[in-house]
């Protein structure tokens, strides 16, 4: 087990190295729009140096004049030491901006994950136990509708109904107009109010796949021999399902939920952007479209790290939860 984890971590580091190399190369090969825009602005000021000189100076100051490989190793050395540089778009250290915005993303992700679990697991179990019934059709169909809903379209519809027509929520942002005048409780409620629609969007769009996953696994378990044995023993149907079957269904569920825990920090790029929630997703979207290399590199490496951590956690959990599985 220990050896397996160590081996996996070594592999992860190796993968992370290549992923960051690919991303760095990709970003460096793009026209450095940020530097050019900056240079354009600076050179139009009265008495300024010509555009070419500014480009050269900015490139030098941002380390963009080095060849890609050398630049990458410089970046990697800084990254390994926890020095992530300053964001160009936000003009603060990357890590500071990250600390500012990660909280709200995590809260959003955590709440919607809990909601997903609460909705998906019971419905998935019901659908599986009553396979081919009306309830099963309804649940399966709505799970597929949830999967098929494009986030942006669904979010816009929610906005139209609840923000524009009913006026319950604001369409954009994290705080209301009179936020500064509110007391602590009022501030909390105001923020909570602004998070309702984004969390609803996140939950509904992603609840479907978990529901289907629960249903499929439950069906698989229900077809297993030990369930037949349990029934043959004369156990009540409720005990068969909730004691014998459900606990076995939990095995894949625990691994998949465990694996998605690191993803709570990755933010919801589209949803946050649509609702202008200042989380990590929206921030990184802004930095990506502005060509802010330090923040983008940090965000992408962070996401890659989270993916690897998620895979590792789910594999380990698989062995921990299911004694039949031995890791090698």
């Amino acid at each position: 087990m220990k050896n397996y984890i160590i081996k996996r971590i070594i592999f992860s580091v190796f993968i992370l190295f290549f992923v960051t190399l690919i991303i760095y190369t990709l970003i460096r090969c793009l026209p450095a729009s940020y530097v050019e825009t900056m240079a354009m602005q600076l050179s139009t000021k009265p008495g300024a140096k010509p555009y070419e000189e500014w480009v050269a100076q900015l490139n030098a100051s941002y380390g963009l004049d080095q060849p890609i490989i050398i630049g990458y190793f410089h970046w990697l050395a800084d990254f390994a030491q926890g020095n992530f540089g300053d964001s160009w778009r936000f003009t603060v250290p990357v890590i500071q901006k990250f600390k500012e915005v990660i909280g709200v993303s995590f809260v959003m992700g955590a709440i919607s994950l809990v909601l997903e679990l609460v909705i998906a697991i019971p419905l998935g179990v019901i659908a599986a136990t009553k396979q081919y019934s009306k309830a099963d059709y309804a649940i399966s169909a709505s799970a597929l509708v949830g999967i098929s809903l494009p986030t942006f379209f669904f979010a816009t519809i929610l906005k139209l109904i609840f923000s524009v027509k009913l006026g319950w929520f604001d369409t954009h942002g994290m705080v209301g107009r009179n936020y500064a005048q509110l007391d602590a409780m009022g501030k909390f409620l105001d923020q909570a109010n602004h998070l309702v629609l984004p969390i609803a969007t996140l939950t509904i769009v992603s609840v479907g796949s978990l529901m289907r996953y629960t249903r499929t696994n439950m069906l698989e378990v229900l077809n297993a021999d030990y369930i037949r044995t349990a029934r043959a023993k004369g156990l009540s149907e409720g005990r068969v399902i909730y004691h014998h079957a459900f606990r076995n269904t939990l095995i894949p569920l625990v691994t998949i939920v465990g694996g998605s825990l690191p993803g709570l920090f990755s933010g919801a790029l589209i949803t946050e952007t649509l609702f202008s929630i200042p989380g990590i997703g929206f921030t990184s979207y802004q930095s990506m479209t502005a060509g802010d290399i330090p923040f983008t590199m940090f965000y992408l490496s962070f996401i890659a790290l989270l993916t690897l951590a998620g895979n590792l956690i789910s594999d380990i959990l698989y062995a921990v939860v299911d004694p039949r599985v031995r890791l090698s």
Binding site: I15, V19, L26, M288, I303
Partner: protein, 514 residues
Amino acid sequence: MSEELKNTNQTEEQYSLNDDRRVKVLSPGALVVKRFFRNRLAVLGLIMLIVMFVFSFVGGFVMPYGQAEQFYTVTYLDKEYVGVTRNDELRYAVADGQEFGTILQAQFLLALGKGKTEYSYKGEDYTLTEEGADFYSISKADGTVLAIAYKDIVNAADGMEDPAFAVKYEALKAYANGGTSFSADGGDYTLDEEGNILSDGTVIGYISRFVVAPKENGVTITRDFKEKLQEALEDDITEFAYTDEEGVESTYKVSYDATAKVWSVQQKTPSYVYDTYGQPSMKHPLGTDKNGMDMLVRLMYGGRVSLVIGFIVVAIETVIGVILGGISGYFGKWVDNLIMRIVDIFYCIPSMPVIIILGAAMDNMRVDPQIRMLYLMLILGFLGWPGIARLVRGQILSLREQEFMTATEACGIRVSRRIFRHLIPNVIPQLIVTCTMGLGSTIIMEATLSFLGLGVKFPFASWGSIISDVNNSYVMTTFWFIWIPAGICLLIAVLGFNFVGDGLRDAFDPKMKR
């Protein structure tokens, strides 16, 4: 297909031994079809897909409009046409060869205010005579008329020269005293009731208290229009229609500004403009978009783009995934290890951010929309293959241990044929399911990118880029027909793929059936 399925579906045959369907012999393919059509959701999905395909691919030919055809409409703009003021100030006309400067004018006004009939300035004496209501003449001591001051204005008729001083003088005199004829400069003139000055039967000018000034250059105001306008003003009408000499009828709106004492006349001018955000009508069942293009046609062509992009991307993913997964699974050992590590790396690349970055970069480089679409497909396909490679490899790892593979080896069939002719066909059921579901998610991905403005660009449409109009919140709240239908099309297509994929999974994998 049925031949390929024989191997995987051996279990199905065994299954049907316990089944009363056993009496009816069906090929494995037919069994799959039968199971598929028994699933109501899958059939519904198939119908949805057929509808969307017909809509997108046939619809474009049926509709009479082109993809980028713009429509026009006539809107009426209220343009400031003329301003009308009632002349309440004295105006001056100076006799030929005389001078009557501003100082003399001021002195005259002073005298008039005091009720005097004479005044002197710089040793010269002037006499002012009230010739009629608001009409005065100023003459020198020797009796020659120097200038006249008046409120009723003598205008030249259309196309005529400005009347000479003497004519003006005599005309105003006659007008003020109710005369109908006068003579000046050796010519005879008549004056009719409407204030027209006629010479030998032709109108050379007219007298009116209203000053009509055009608000735009190049606008000449006809006498006829002025009269009509005057009538309207006197009757206090706020809107009147006027047909000019060329027979063009236009409507005018009159409003009075009390502080400036000006009537402003606005002409309703027809403007030929793009029919932007036209409401749904018989001609355009879903209205028109911001460029004045028919929404329904845009939706059809947008569907074509969305579906074609989906298919091409999935095709690219499948080709790369099958080749790499097949090689990896068949050879095992270090080849497998290498390819799987590459898969791990690709799995780890956050695809959405990377595509957003590339999209922003393409925005910056102003890539041609058509080439951009091509790049988009390549990028999406190149980032999406690892899932398929994993699937294929996993299946092949177990398949290659089976007897039929030993048989192919014994027959001396070459490796590439063994992989792609004997192993891959056995993976096809799972591949079809994955690809069908993948089509749905690819279409959503493309739509999301286009929605963010980083995918398909104008003049091409895709369902996502059509919805991106809602980034303008005015459009979102006011013009539902712009974005709701596109979203519904998107939902139907993706849902169709997911329903069909789900049904296929159940049909191919009978173990899931009780």
